[in-house]
């Protein structure tokens, strides 16, 4: 999708580099009587959201998890990456996949009693698309006809509403796209497509401080930098009715603090175990440790504009890739909490297929050396990998570099930038010296999200300026396919083509690593790495 903007990024956690090894044990006895209290409150280690709580203005993790508890969108997806219908009864495309008809389940209400209608959706989207309202996610509507009038690249908005959105009746509306997209309903999973009540548009500022949604939980309070509390909403019509009484999103400034609180049952769960604890969290939590799949991938990408990779033969990049012993690095650096990657699409999304990268993602030191040699090597026989030093990347970058140097003879060094801001600035300004580390979490569970949005010629997400005409043609074909399945299949072909042009070296897929306290059970995380808080059950105290 020519640079569709994307989902959440993990908020800059205020990581004061704390490295200490917790000494084992610490398991306290199961206090609970074993009985579940349906009114029990789950506490979740979060942080202060970046923006006011408006769905179309939330992309970082701290705000996202709260928004997800307050809102239910049209569709969601299951573990297989198939669409499930939430507030929508059906979402049906026309033959060309251009006009999408959305039918809502009748009888749904917002927490303030207002009915959720077709208008609630259409008005919310039009409002969010208008740049004057400063919604960060507004470019998600760019496929809709009339978006350019509301959100022009320059100057003031010409219109207040996108002509592609039409209310048919109370529970039906249509979305007209400027070109057919077979998997458009997958995009509707994302937050800017949530509905908003009319009061929200009248007073957005107040709304951002005390949001009113249509989801399983109702907003209760927000004490800035301390906690956000939501309570289960009795009139909720969705299938994911809360099995607990509410959630307390506690703000933490460091993951280490959250971890120590989790160990002593002062908080019930947290999003990701800090890297310094990866080696001991299983021991600390025993059967309460959580490890699950997560659709996110890590790569190192060449900057194709740099001196080093400007006229490089693809064989060199393939060779560098084969020089990396992913299995061993995953075991030693990440204590087995990642999974070696075998392609450019993360696991768990529609159209994922293992092994797209073929032999080039398998460790083979002999071939690696030969390939780099045959490809003519790189200028100066030296490469660097850029990363941000405010997060724990140094360890694996060093390991990858060691492998490359040892197995191909190409000198490899880490190129740390002080923090994430500095790192992205260098990338935006096209000043990466050779390679940079990159990570991508799904926006919507479809393989195209990992392909055309990242490696298409000239798209916003393509920071290395990779370009492959064959790949572009294949993704174009995939976007023109009749059905989702066909499109996913064609995208698989496009992914396979990448092994001949190598836009980046796939390293590993992330996993969710977390744990939960003895106060709760049924704690799980979904494909996007978000906690499934509605299912959590709290023990009686």
């Amino acid at each position: 999708m020519r640079g569709a903007k994307s989902a959440k990024w993990v908020a800059i956690a205020g990581v004061v580099a704390l490295t200490a090894t917790a000494c084992g044990g610490g398991d306290s006895d199961n206090k609970g009587s074993g009985k579940v209290d349906p009114k029990g409150i789950v506490s979740y280690a979060n942080g202060e959201p970046q923006n006011p709580l408006q769905p179309s203005n939330t992309m970082e993790a701290y705000g996202s998890v709260v928004i997800d508890s307050l809102f239910t969108g049209l569709v969601y997806y299951d573990k297989q990456g198939d669409i499930t219908y939430e507030n929508a009864e059906s979402v049906t495309p026309d033959k060309a996949n251009k006009v999408w008809t959305v039918k809502l389940k009748p009888g749904w209400k917002f927490h303030n009693g207002e009915a959720v209608t077709a208008k609630s959706y259409v008005d919310a989207w039009n409002w969010a698309a208008d740049p004057a309202n400063g919604q960060q996610n507004s470019s998600w509507y760019r496929d809709i006809v009339g978006y350019e009038d509301v959100h022009p690249a320059k100057g003031k908005a010409k219109k207040k509403a996108m002509s592609g959105l039409k209310v048919v009746d109370e529970n039906t509306f249509t979305i007209t796209l400027d070109h057919g997209i077979p998997y458009y309903e997958y995009k509707l999973v994302y937050k800017p497509f949530f509905p908003m009540p009319s009061a929200a548009l009248k007073d957005p500022k107040k709304y951002g401080e005390s949001p009113v949604g249509n989801g399983p939980y109702k907003f209760k309070s927000w004490e800035h930098k301390k906690s956000i509390q939501v309570t289960a909403w009795a009139d909720y019509k969705g299938a994911d009715k809360p099995k607990n009484g509410g959630i307390n999103f506690k703000a933490y400034t460091t993951p280490q603090g959250a971890y120590n609180d989790l160990r002593s049952n002062n908080v019930d769960t947290m999003p990701q175990i800090p890297d310094s604890e990866l080696a001991n969290y299983k021991q600390d939590f025993g059967d309460r440790a959580i490890t699950s799949d997560y659709s996110a991938i890590n790569t190192v990408n060449p900057a194709f504009y740099s001196k080093t990779f400007k006229d490089v033969d693809v064989k060199v990049i393939q060779g560098l890739s084969m020089a990396i012993d992913r299995e061993t690095i995953v075991k030693t650096t990440f204590s087995g909490t990642r999974e070696p990657a075998s392609g450019w699409v993360a696991t768990g999304v529609k159209g994922y297929k293992a092994g797209a990268c073929g032999e080039f993602c398998k460790f083979n030191p002999k071939k690696a050396k030969q390939f780099v040699k045959d490809g003519g090597g790189v200028p100066g026989n030296k490469i660097s990998i850029q990363y941000n030093a405010d997060q724990p990347h140094k360890g694996w970058v060093t390991a990858v570099c060691n492998d490359i140097q040892k197995n191909t003879g190409v000198k490899c060094v880490g190129d740390p930038k002080t923090d994430f801001q500095a790192d992205t600035e260098v990338r935006d300004k096209r000043q990466v010296k050779a390679m940079y580390r990159s990570g991508w979490v799904l926006d919507y569970p479809f393989n195209g999200n990992f392909l055309s949005d990242l490696y298409g010629t000239g798209v916003d997400g393509n920071k290395g300026e990779f370009s492959d005409k064959k790949f572009d043609a294949l993704t174009k074909r995939a976007d023109a396919a009749k059905t989702i399945d066909e499109s996913a299949k064609l995208y698989q072909e496009a992914e396979r083509e990448l092994r001949n042009s190598f836009p980046g070296i796939p390293l590993w897929y992330n996993k969710i690593t977390s744990g939960h306290s003895t106060n709760v059970k049924n704690m799980e995380f979904d494909q996007a790495g978000d906690p499934v808080l509605t299912d959590v059950e709290v023990f009686e105290k």
């Binding site: 989902a7 004061v16 917790a22 306290s28 690249a153 400034t253 002593s264 801001q421």
Partner: protein, 309 residues
């Protein structure tokens, strides 16, 4: 005395303008655009970026931004944050009381325990008490504060369960006790050492011999003669330490999840929130200036020989 205070207050104005300008420039020199960073590692929307920059006045030349900022400051307006567009004043009024409480607890701890230990060690120089205090302070000074903090957290929090590992409510005094002890630890060691040296030195002074010869009670000799004269370097240290405790608590506040100034500053720096950084530093500069003025005034009280015209 009045003229001295007035002169000092007037001196504050250029110091104040100088520091704010310096910080303002430094924040702008840092790499990384705070507006762009709202999008994390995802591609930003240029239309929205331009809109936000315009709304926050970030598209103006730096000197204009500074004048605007100072103009607002004089009216008590610290500007708004880039992320979330919240008034910076809200963030400051939320964080400062917490840090003030934490710092004053740590400071009191430093003052009372530090001076007591110093006096004990100074009077019994070379004896067992002195050696113990010297050893203890050496240990505290040489072990980094985050090690002490984490050890306290793990031992008292996770192992013994006496405290919660992090502070659950930054406004509760009892919760802040352990972080305050950790925070005041290093200062305590310095105070103890300064007092000890000073006391040991002054014990040999002529006026001490006179006092003893006059047959004054020991208690009076120590508190009135010895301590009062020995406190000048200690007061200097304690005065400047107020500012350090307020702003320098980044590590302690981080470990114990206390939402104070240190934390605010750290987060603001990570997000390149210029207005927050300048705002916090501005208030900290004021605290420093006030504390050092207080120290200078205290000198005169402690030692009548030091007089200001």
């Amino acid at each position: 005395m009045g003229r001295f205070v007035a002169r000092r207050l007037l001196q504050m104005i250029p110091v104040f303008i100088g520091t704010t300008l310096l910080i303002f420039i430094m924040v702008n020199v840092l790499p990384g655009d705070p507006v762009r960073s709202l999008w994390g590692d995802k591609p930003p929307d240029p239309v929205q970026v331009a809109q936000i920059r315009h709304d926050r006045g970030l598209d103006l030349p730096l000197w204009q931004q500074y004048l605007h900022y100072m103009g607002g400051l004089l009216q008590g307006d610290f500007g708004n944050t880039i992320a979330g567009n919240r008034p910076v004043l809200d963030e400051i009024t939320q964080a400062f009381p917490v840090s003030m409480r934490l710092a004053s607890m740590a400071w009191t701890f430093e003052l009372i325990v530090g001076i007591s230990l110093g006096v004990l060690a100074g009077i019994r120089r070379g004896r067992f008490v002195d050696n113990t205090v010297t050893l203890f302070t050496l240990l505290v000074i040489s072990v980094p504060i985050f090690v002490v903090g984490l050890l306290c957290q793990l031992f008292f929090g996770n192992e013994l369960g006496w405290i919660t590992p992090t502070v659950q409510d930054s406004e509760s005094m009892s919760q802040l006790l352990v972080p305050a002890l950790v925070l005041g630890m290093v200062g305590l060691a310095y105070v103890a050492r300064l007092t000890r040296t000073s006391i040991a030195e002054n014990r040999q002074a002529d006026y001490m011999r006179t006092a003893v010869a006059k047959g004054l009670p020991r208690q009076r000799i120590v508190t009135r003669h010895l301590l009062r004269n020995s406190l000048i370097p200690v007061v200097t240290y304690l005065g400047t330490d107020i500012g350090t405790l307020m702003g320098g608590a980044v590590i302690t506040e981080g470990i114990f999840n206390v939402t104070g100034v240190g934390n605010l500053l750290f987060q603001a720096l990570a997000r390149r929130e210029g207005a927050v950084i300048v705002g916090v530093v501005t208030v900290l500069v004021l605290v420093y200036l006030a504390a050092s003025l207080l120290v200078d005034l205290l000198y005169a009280v402690l030692d009548p020989r030091i007089r200001y015209a």
